[in-house]
């Protein structure tokens, strides 16, 4: 069962979100909820079935799902709520979260602290404005990885991979292992953009050629990719005429970069750094909006999952501390309500501790004139906190009343105070 209000809500159940939720709970947050749009916890790790995760934190070389499982197991023992197969559609700067799923329907939830851990998405063919036709058979490496590792289908037989990022190289090996032919990896830069270990283990060991300073000039084929035309690039990133080569293939995989996924952050009014495309954060991983924190690939793109986990832990601890402070602070505040013949009262909210320092002035206007002596009374339910006599009240004339320091104890008992004007 979902609660209406949480101490900490985490959006995204990748390594960042899982670590944040776990650490928030351990730090003392009471109600913690993780919302994830996939059907299971773990984020992108669930499709990364290769080894290479956890060398820093666990001193072990784990596959992605095994790394994630350690956190999923820990989370399960901590009474943390989860809402899976659910998309967060909107978030406000007041930390109201709107989400929808088949199971929960459309839900609105409030939280004292919010953790953004939505990860990132892949750059697409369109973002690098790749010329040519628009057939089936052009996939981002991550989408192809999902098809192969989660859905159990091969998206092609003969591949060319554009970009020497880690996901592309890992996929080159995976596809080769599945019996496909990877013709080539093309990289526009003069250097490898992924990890050297991946170059050795995924390309060299399988005799997959890597061509630096090369890119795709155009895609050929109307229904399905039939070939791509590659071209060499000079130091100014301009194609060198005469170096074109047609490489027959049925699939082009793109491993051309990741972009933090911050559409929700933007809706919440979080300021974004144009360089990282992620939120500006302080040392607590708090964004420009108080109470909204962020961790993982949503902030900047990581190469190693261990650092993501660390960022998630830090973020979760601070989010919990923020929520705990909010709770305490919240208990100290009383709402001011307009009672009989009072239109409004300013201030709207009063910190109970303020009376320890001085009397507090309330100002208000009445709704109707009363041309005879009246009491202006501040009430806690039926208990009178203080009162003041006036000869008359009129809507055109503001009414003032002090809550004296002597009322400190009476105010401590209240969660709400109302002000009314009654005939004497």
């Amino acid at each position: 069962m979902l609660k209406e209000k949480y101490d900490v809500i985490v959006i995204g159940a990748g390594p960042a979100g899982l670590a944040a939720a776990i650490e928030a709970k351990k730090t003392g947050a009471q109600e913690v909820l993780v919302i994830e749009r996939a059907q299971e916890l773990g984020g992108i790790l669930q499709q990364c079935i290769h080894n290479g995760f956890g060398l820093q934190i666990f001193k072990k070389d784990l596959p992605g799902p095994a790394y994630a499982q350690r956190f999923i197991d820990e989370l399960a023992g901590l009474h943390i709520d989860t809402l899976l197969d659910a998309m967060v559609l909107n978030v406000t700067s007041e930390r109201r979260v709107y989400a929808t799923s088949r199971w929960s329907g459309f839900v609105e939830l409030d939280t004292r602290a919010l953790v953004l851990a939505m990860g990132c998405r892949e750059r697409t063919r369109a973002q690098i404005a790749l010329p040519g036709t628009r057939p089936a058979g052009v996939y981002t490496a991550g989408t192809a990885q999902r098809f192969v590792n989660i859905e159990g289908f091969m998206p092609g037989k003969r591949f060319v991979i554009l970009g020497s990022g880690d996901i592309g190289m890992i996929m080159a090996r995976r596809l080769t292992f599945e019996g496909a032919k990877v013709e080539r990896v093309l990289e526009i830069m003069p250097f490898l953009t992924g990890l050297t270990r991946n170059y050795v283990q995924c390309l060299l060991d399988y005799d997959i050629p890597l061509q630096l300073h090369h890119t795709v000039k155009r895609i050929i084929g109307n229904d399905r990719v039939e070939a791509i035309e590659s071209v060499q690039i000079d130091e100014q990133r301009q194609p060198i005429p005469g170096t074109e080569e047609t490489i027959p293939c049925d699939t082009l995989l793109l491993s051309v970069g990741l972009i933090p996924e911050n559409e929700l952050s933007r809706k919440a009014g979080v300021s974004l750094d144009p360089v990282t495309a992620g939120p500006f954060v302080d040392e607590k991983m708090q964004t420009s909006v108080p109470g909204i924190f962020a961790a993982g690939n949503v902030v900047h793109v990581y190469d190693l999952v261990d650092w993501v986990t660390q960022a998630g832990l830090l973020c979760g601890r601070n989010a919990a501390q923020y929520a705990i402070a909010e709770r305490k602070h919240h208990g100290r505040r009383v709402k001011m309500k307009a009672g009989d013949n009072v239109r409004y009262v300013v201030p709207h909210v009063l910190d109970k501790e303020s009376l320890a320092e001085s009397a507090q002035l309330l100002q208000m206007r009445v709704t109707l004139p009363i041309e005879e002596p009246v009491w202006v009374e501040v009430m806690n339910g039926e208990e009178r906190v203080t009162r003041k006599a006036e000869l008359y009240v009129r809507p055109g004339e503001m009414v003032n009343i002090d809550i004296p320091q002597s009322a400190y104890d009476a105010v401590q008992r209240a969660s709400e105070l109302s002000v009314r004007v009654v005939r004497r």
């Binding site: 929808t100 459309f106 036709t133 289908f153």
Partner: protein, 496 residues
């Protein structure tokens, strides 16, 4: 020949053929609409600027001018009846510098001659106030209040669906090959799916309208030359130009626009490049550079960093002289019942403003048939209304809540950028004109058109299509046979 005798066969289910089918569905006729592709609306109607032109552009006296102005006026009622998205938000022809400003008045005069109402010339300050992102050197604009934008696939689908619900038969994957003649009478057509007999045939084959009419021995000199137009689409979170901005037109083209879609994305384009290949919708480096240069002349603050898609369309440009010999123009629409053969309604060269003109063309086809002696009795049960299906992202939270309560599959988001739900996808797969490919669903729901370009939704849509159609995921394609997404199961799957 098949036992069934049709009254009318329409060749080609683009916006023109679909609109003709919809207007003919009102009458007691057996109508067959055939389309060579796997879905309707995959030709010229699938990639255009989506503008319902006011009508100041075409040369006075031409069919283009007449159809455009009449068609434009029909769109409010049509959008109301067929429930596609249409917004009459006006358009602007923007003059940069003093010389261009002088041309606005002649454009306005041309509009008046064509019968376009509601045109106003604005000064530079007015334009800057209405579109703060405009080139600061703007000297003024022609504001055409009747210009509009629409969902161009929505128009095709709504018209064809309304036709089908009113009794028209639609056959996709069915290509016209030749006419069956009896003397000079057309009595039927040959297709890849067999022969069909009919008293009338409508040629609305778009890019192939020349090929079709040549088969009947008509207008041998008429030739469609595809003219390619390319576009960039921008992320709506980053760039919002809320107006339809044309440059001052040149002798050959309306120029590169900066405009907005009904879905809120800014788009720029199109260029105009004549090519030979009727299937070449590839995008080119040169074309993209050209539209970029044109666009930043209108709105210098655009940034390519926020481009999320590029695409290209082919205008079915013809070389038909204007019917009126006094008007010197040789790229007019053909809308005729030719004398040389009997039983053909011949349409050709329906390039821009073909989308805007399509309802007027359909009405003209009805009139031509009446003129040729067809009685065209109205069906009492004809229903002009086509209901819209729920669109989750356009609803208020309270409406979304209710929708999900009634059908939980509307609570599962499949397209993360455009917030398209499983419920919407399933509804399109089982609609009167079923969506059976990824692109068919994309055209109907706008799924996969956002910043991740289907990266997230593709595996999920493949799964839903396979489940709903009761076939293997291996059979699911992007746009019909030959464009399947997957080639075989992985080794683990095979082993199981």
């Amino acid at each position: 020949m098949a036992d069934k005798n049709y009254d009318v066969i329409i060749i080609g289910a683009g916006v023109v053929g679909s609109m003709v089918a919809r207007f003919l569905s009102r009458y007691k006729l057996d109508v067959l609409l055939i389309e060579k592709d796997s879905d309707i609306g995959m030709g010229a109607s699938s990639a255009n600027t989506a503008i319902i032109h006011a009508g100041y552009d075409p040369k006075p006296g031409t069919l283009k001018a007449e159809m455009n102005v009449v068609g434009n006026q029909m769109f409010d009622q049509l959008a109301g009846e067929l429930n596609f998205t249409f917004e009459r938000r006006g358009d602007y022809v923007v003059a940069i510098g003093p010389e261009e400003f002088a041309k606005l008045e002649s454009l306005r005069q041309q509009g008046l001659e064509n019968g376009v109402p509601g045109m106003v010339i604005l000064n530079g300050a007015d334009v800057r106030r209405r579109e703060p992102n405009i080139n600061p050197e703007v000297s003024g604009a022609l504001w055409a209040t009747t210009g509009g934008i629409c969902d161009p696939f929505g128009v095709v689908i709504a018209a064809a669906e309304n036709a089908v619900v009113n009794g028209v038969t639609l056959m996709t994957d069915t290509a016209f090959q030749d006419f069956i003649m009896d003397g000079k009478h057309i009595v039927g057509i040959k297709t890849n799916r067999g022969d069909f007999s009919s008293r009338w045939v409508v040629n609305s084959a778009g890019l192939y309208s020349d090929v079709v009419m040549h088969k009947a021995g008509l207008r041998p000199e008429f030739k469609i030359t595809p003219r390619k137009g390319e576009y960039y689409v921008f992320d709506k979170a980053e760039i919002t130009i809320n107006n339809v901005l044309f440059p001052v037109p040149s002798a050959t083209s309306k120029g590169i626009l900066v405009t907005t879609t009904v879905h809120g994305n800014t788009i720029i384009g199109p260029n105009a490049l004549e090519i030979d290949d009727k299937e070449d919708r590839s995008i080119t480096r040169e074309g993209l550079d050209e539209i970029w240069q044109g666009a930043i002349n209108l709105v210098p603050s655009l940034s390519l960093r926020y481009s999320i898609a590029e695409f290209a369309g082919l205008r079915p440009g013809g070389n038909a002289p204007c019917e009126n010999p006094d008007v010197k123009y040789n790229k007019d629409f053909i809308i005729e019942i030719p004398k040389q053969v009997e039983g053909l309604v011949n349409l050709g060269g329906i390039e821009s403003p073909g989308l805007s003109s399509s309802p007027a063309i359909a009405v003209r086809v009805v009139e031509l048939l009446k003129g040729a002696g067809e009685k065209l009795e109205e069906k009492s049960e004809w229903n002009p209304i086509r209901r819209a299906r729920p669109r989750f992202r356009d609803m208020l939270p309270t409406e979304q809540k209710l929708l999900i309560e009634n059908d939980p599959s509307y609570g599962r988001i499949i397209c993360r950028c455009e917030n398209v739900t499983e419920g919407e996808i399933v509804a399109e797969i089982h609609a009167p004109i079923p969506a059976r490919t990824y692109d068919a669903i994309k055209r109907r729901t706008w799924l996969g058109t956002g910043r991740c370009q289907g990266g997230f939704d593709t595996p999920r849509v493949v799964e839903i299509l396979a489940r709903e159609l009761g076939v293997s995921p291996l059979e699911i394609s992007k746009k019909g046979k030959g464009s399947e997404f997957l080639v075989r199961p992985t080794k683990d799957e095979e082993a199981e």
